[in-house]
C-alpha cells in the first residue's frame, strides 16, 4: 500500500517530464502482470506513447548532432555535453525499442501457442480470446497457421493432435458446450447433446476438449 501511494506521488510529479524509457518499462509490466500464457487486451495507449517517445528521442538526437555540426565539431570524436546528451537519447530509444519488441514478441509467442493448442482457424478460437487480438496479430495467427499446415502436409502427419501422452485409447467425456449435430466420429454418428456423456476414442475427443466443448471425466 505504502509503495502504491509513493509511486502515485512520483507519477504525478513525473508526469509531463517523465523519465526516458519509462513508457517501455510500463508496457512490459503491463504484459507481465497478466496471467502466464494468457493475453490481455493490447495496450495501444502505452504502446503508442512509447513509440512517440522514440520519435522525440530521435528528434533530440538529430538536433544535438546538427548543433555539433554547426559548431564545426566532429560528431564521432568529440566528447562534449551534446555528445553525451545524444547518447542518452539513443540509449532511451534502444531501451524503448527492446521493450516494444519484447511486448510484441511475447504476445506473438502466445498467439502461436493458440494455433498449436486450440485450433488453426481463427474462428476456432473462443470469442473472448479473439477480442484481445489486434488485426495484425490475427494476420500473424493466420500466417503461422498456414506455415504449420504446410509443414504437416509435407510430412503427412497431423501434429496438432495427441498433445498429451496417451494412457487409454478411449476416454470418458461430458459435453459441456454446443456441438452441432450429426458429427461422425471414426466409426459412428453420435448426438452430442449438452451434458450427455460418451465413451470416445481419445484422438476423436481431443479437438473438442481443446476448444472447451467437452471435458474429460477422470477417476
Amino acid at each position: 500500500m505504502m509503495c502504491r501511494v509513493l509511486s502515485e506521488r512520483v507519477n504525478k510529479k513525473g508526469r509531463g517530464a517523465g523519465m526516458y524509457g519509462r513508457k517501455g518499462y510500463q508496457l512490459i509490466k503491463d504484459f507481465a502482470s497478466g496471467e502466464k500464457g494468457h493475453l490481455k487486451p493490447f495496450n495501444s495507449k502505452l504502446f503508442d506513447e512509447a513509440i512517440e517517445e522514440c520519435d522525440q528521442n530521435h528528434h533530440l538526437i538529430q538536433s544535438l548532432i546538427r548543433k555539433m555540426q554547426q559548431e564545426g565539431l566532429d560528431v564521432h570524436d568529440n566528447r562534449n555535453a551534446d555528445h553525451y546528451g545524444a547518447l542518452v537519447h539513443h540509449l532511451s530509444l534502444i531501451r524503448n525499442k527492446r521493450c516494444l519488441m519484447a511486448y510484441v514478441h511475447n504476445r506473438a509467442d502466445i498467439v502461436r501457442d493458440l494455433a498449436w493448442t486450440i485450433g488453426l482457424e481463427i474462428i476456432e478460437l473462443p470469442p473472448d480470446i479473439q477480442e484481445k487480438l489486434t488485426a495484425l496479430e490475427k494476420d500473424y495467427f493466420k500466417n503461422h497457421s498456414v506455415a504449420i499446415t504446410s509443414y504437416m502436409g509435407k510430412v503427412g502427419i497431423e501434429l496438432n493432435v495427441d498433445m498429451v501422452p496417451p494412457k487409454d485409447p478411449y476416454i470418458k467425456i461430458r459435453v459441456v458446450g454446443d456441438i452441432e449435430q450429426g458429427i461422425v466420429m471414426s466409426d459412428k454418428t453420435t448426438n452430442f447433446t449438452r451434458h450427455s456423456m460418451h465413451f470416445l476414442r481419445r484422438t476423436d475427443a481431443e479437438p473438442y476438449i481443446a476448444r472447451g466443448q467437452m471435458e474429460e471425466l477422470t477417476g
Binding site: 513509440i51 516494444l100 500473424y140 506455415a147 501434429l159 496417451p166
Partner: protein
C-alpha cells in the same frame, strides 16, 4: 521366428534397446531435454512412419477378421503410443525452431540439423514474424532503428536475436563410466566422474561433446 527362442536374455535386451520405438523414444527424450536443436533423425522418422502404417493396416485386418476386440485395443494402444512419440518428437522440434528461428537461420551449423521441411518452416516462420514486427513496431521507429536483428544500425553484432542457453542444466546418464571435464578457460579444472547408468545433473555445455558422440543421453 525360430531363432527367437535361441536368443539369450542379454541379446534380447540389446535387441529391444535398438528397436525403432526405443530409438525414437531416446531421440524424443534428448530433443526435449536439450536446449538447442539436435540433428534431425530422418531415417528413424521414416522407419517409424512405415511401421505405423503397417500396424494401422494390421489392425484394420484384425477388426475385419473378427479378432477379440480386447486384443485389437492392445495393438491400438501400442500404436497410439508410437504415434504420440513421433508427433511429439516432430512437434518439440518445431517449437524449438519457432523459439530460435532467427538464430537457427543465421547459423549454418544449426540450420544443417534441420530436415528440408523444417528449413522451409523456419524460413516461413522468420518471414512471418519479421513482417509482424515490422508492421507492429519497426516501421513506426526512426530509420536507423528498423531492423529485427540489431538494436540500431550502429550495433556491430546482431544483438536482438534470442539464442538457446547452453549453460542450462540437464539431467544426463552415461552409458559407460566417463570422466567429464567441467573445466572451461579461466576456471579451475574440475573433473566429474560419471558412473555407468547413474543420473547426473550438469551444465549442458559441459556434457555437450560427450552427448553428441552418443556416450551420454539426456533424460
Amino acid at each position: 521366428m525360430a531363432s527367437n527362442s535361441e536368443m539369450g536374455s542379454a541379446d534380447f535386451e540389446s535387441l529391444l534397446s535398438t528397436s525403432d520405438v526405443e530409438l525414437l523414444k531416446r531421440a524424443w527424450r534428448n530433443e526435449k531435454a536439450a536446449p538447442e536443436i539436435l540433428p534431425y533423425q530422418g531415417d528413424l522418422v521414416e522407419r517409424a512412419k512405415g511401421q505405423i502404417e503397417l500396424v494401422e493396416g494390421n489392425i484394420e485386418d484384425y477388426v475385419e477378421d473378427g479378432i477379440d476386440p480386447l486384443v485389437v485395443s492392445l495393438y491400438q494402444m501400442d500404436l497410439d503410443r508410437t504415434q504420440f512419440l513421433l508427433r511429439s518428437y516432430l512437434r518439440v522440434r518445431l517449437l524449438k525452431i519457432e523459439k530460435f528461428m532467427f538464430h537457427i537461420l543465421k547459423s549454418e551449423e544449426a540450420e544443417s540439423r534441420l530436415s528440408e521441411q523444417e528449413k522451409a518452416f523456419a524460413r516461413r516462420c522468420a518471414a512471418d514474424l519479421t513482417k509482424h514486427f515490422e508492421e507492429s513496431v519497426l516501421l513506426k521507429l526512426p530509420e536507423n532503428y528498423q531492423t529485427v536483428q540489431k538494436q540500431s544500425l550502429i550495433s556491430d553484432e546482431d544483438d536482438m536475436v534470442p539464442e538457446p542457453n547452453l549453460d542450462t542444466f540437464v539431467v544426463c546418464r552415461s552409458k559407460n563410466s566417463l570422466k567429464l571435464n567441467l573445466y572451461e578457460e579461466g576456471e579451475t579444472p574440475v573433473i566429474l566422474d560419471l558412473d555407468r547408468g547413474e543420473p547426473s545433473f550438469v551444465r549442458y555445455r559441459a556434457v555437450k561433446r560427450a552427448f553428441e558422440s552418443g556416450e551420454v543421453e539426456l533424460i
